[in-house]
Subunit: 179 residues, 2 copies
DNA sequence: GTTTGTGTACCGTCCAGACGGTATAGTAGC
DNA sequence: GCTACTATACCGTCTGGACGGTACACAAAC
C-alpha cells in the first residue's frame, strides 16, 4: 500500500468522525462505521479490535494533530492562534473533537486512555498560554475565553460575530501586554 | 396527593438526572430510570410516554429553574452571579445540566424542544450580561469566561483555583466599570 | 347508601429489533 | 505464505415500547 494513499485505518477513523458529528454517539455502531468507511465489519474489526479501541484511535489521532498545532502556536503567538482555533465554526475536525469529547463522558465505552488524550489537548493550550502571558490571571482569562468560544462555536450556543471576535482578541492582547 | 410531597414525576426526573451524571446517557434506559426512581417501567411510561418525552421533561425543568436564577441575577448583579453559577463544581444540578446538554446533541432522542429549552438558558445569561455591561465586547468576554468556566468545571478540564476565580472576577468587574 | 362508572396511578410481562462481538471460509496482492 | 481484507452467519444480551391488568379515589344515579 503506497504511502501517498490514505490508509484504511484512517478512512475508518474519518468515518467514525463523520458519524459522530452527523448522528452522534448513538449513531455509531460497528456496522454503521464499517459501511461509512466502505469496509466490511470484519475488516473494521481487523484494524480495531473493539469499539473502545476505535474511539481510542480517534482520540489519539486528535492528540497527535493538536500537539503540532500547539508547538507551532508557541512559535507564532499563542493568544491569536488559540482564539482562532477555538472559533472554527463548521470545521469538521473541530466538530468531531467536540463530538468525541462529549461522547467520552457518560459512556464507559471510552477508556481513560482516550480521555487522557483529549484532556492533554486542553492542558497543552493552557501551558502554551501561561508560557506566553506573564500575568497568570490574564492567561486564565484568555484560556477561558477560548474555551467559551469553543463551546459556543461547536455546540449551538450563540456565537459572537467575527468582528466581535476580532475586537475581543485585540482587547485580550492589550491586557496581556501592558499592565 | 399532598402538595408538600414530592411528586412521582419529580422523583423520576431526579432519577434521570442522577443516572445521567453517574453513568452518562448510555446508562439511561427506561428500566434503569424506573428502578432508580423506585417505580416500575410501566409507571414511568405513564408519566412520560417515551424516552424523548422524559428528556424533554428534564430540560423544561432546568429552564424554569434557570429563568428564576437569571431574573434574580438581573437584580443583584449579573457578572458575579454568572461567574459563580458557572464555577459550581460537583454541584449535582450543574453536572446534570451539562450531562443533559451533551446527551442532547448526537442523539436524536432529544427533540428540538429540549434543545431550545437548554439554549434558552445560555441566551438568557447572555442577555442579562449585555443589559448590565455597557460595552458589548466586555460583555462578550465575561460571557465567554463564564462559559469557559462552566466547561472546565463540569467536564474534567483543569479548573482554576477559587482564588484565581476571585481574581478573574475582580479583573472583569474592573473592565466592565471604568473604561 | 350502595351500585355503577370514570379517571388516575401505577405494575409486570412480552416482543421485535438492534447491537457488540465471534467465527469461519474465502480471496487478491505482494 | 503472509497481510489485508470480504462476506455471511450466528449468539447472547439489552432496549424501547406496547399492552393488559390492578388498585384506589371520587362521583353520580338510583
Amino acid at each position: 500500500m503506497g504511502q501517498d494513499e490514505i490508509t484504511t485505518r484512517d478512512r475508518i477513523l474519518n468515518a467514525l468522525q463523520r458519524l459522530l458529528v452527523e448522528k452522534g454517539s448513538s449513531g455509531v455502531t460497528l456496522e454503521a462505521v464499517a459501511a461509512e468507511a466502505g469496509v466490511s465489519k470484519g475488516g473494521l474489526l481487523y484494524h480495531f479490535k473493539s469499539k473502545a479501541d476505535l474511539y481510542n484511535g480517534l482520540a489519539r489521532r486528535y492528540r497527535l494533530v493538536e500537539e503540532e498545532h500547539i508547538a507551532e502556536a508557541r512559535r507564532t503567538g499563542a493568544i491569536e492562534a488559540f482564539l482562532r482555533v477555538s472559533t472554527v465554526e463548521s470545521d469538521e475536525s473541530a466538530a468531531g473533537l467536540w463530538a468525541l469529547f462529549t461522547a467520552l463522558r457518560g459512556t464507559d465505552e471510552l477508556s481513560a486512555e482516550a480521555r487522557d488524550d483529549l484532556l492533554f489537548i486542553f492542558e497543552g493550550w493552557k501551558a502554551a498560554l501561561h508560557a506566553e502571558i506573564a500575568d497568570p490571571v490574564t492567561a486564565e482569562i484568555v484560556r477561558l475565553v477560548g474555551d467559551g468560544l469553543f463551546l459556543s462555536a461547536v455546540s449551538g450556543v450563540p456565537v459572537p460575530s467575527p468582528e466581535t471576535v476580532d475586537r475581543i482578541l485585540k482587547r485580550l492582547k492589550d491586557l496581556a501586554e501592558h499592565r
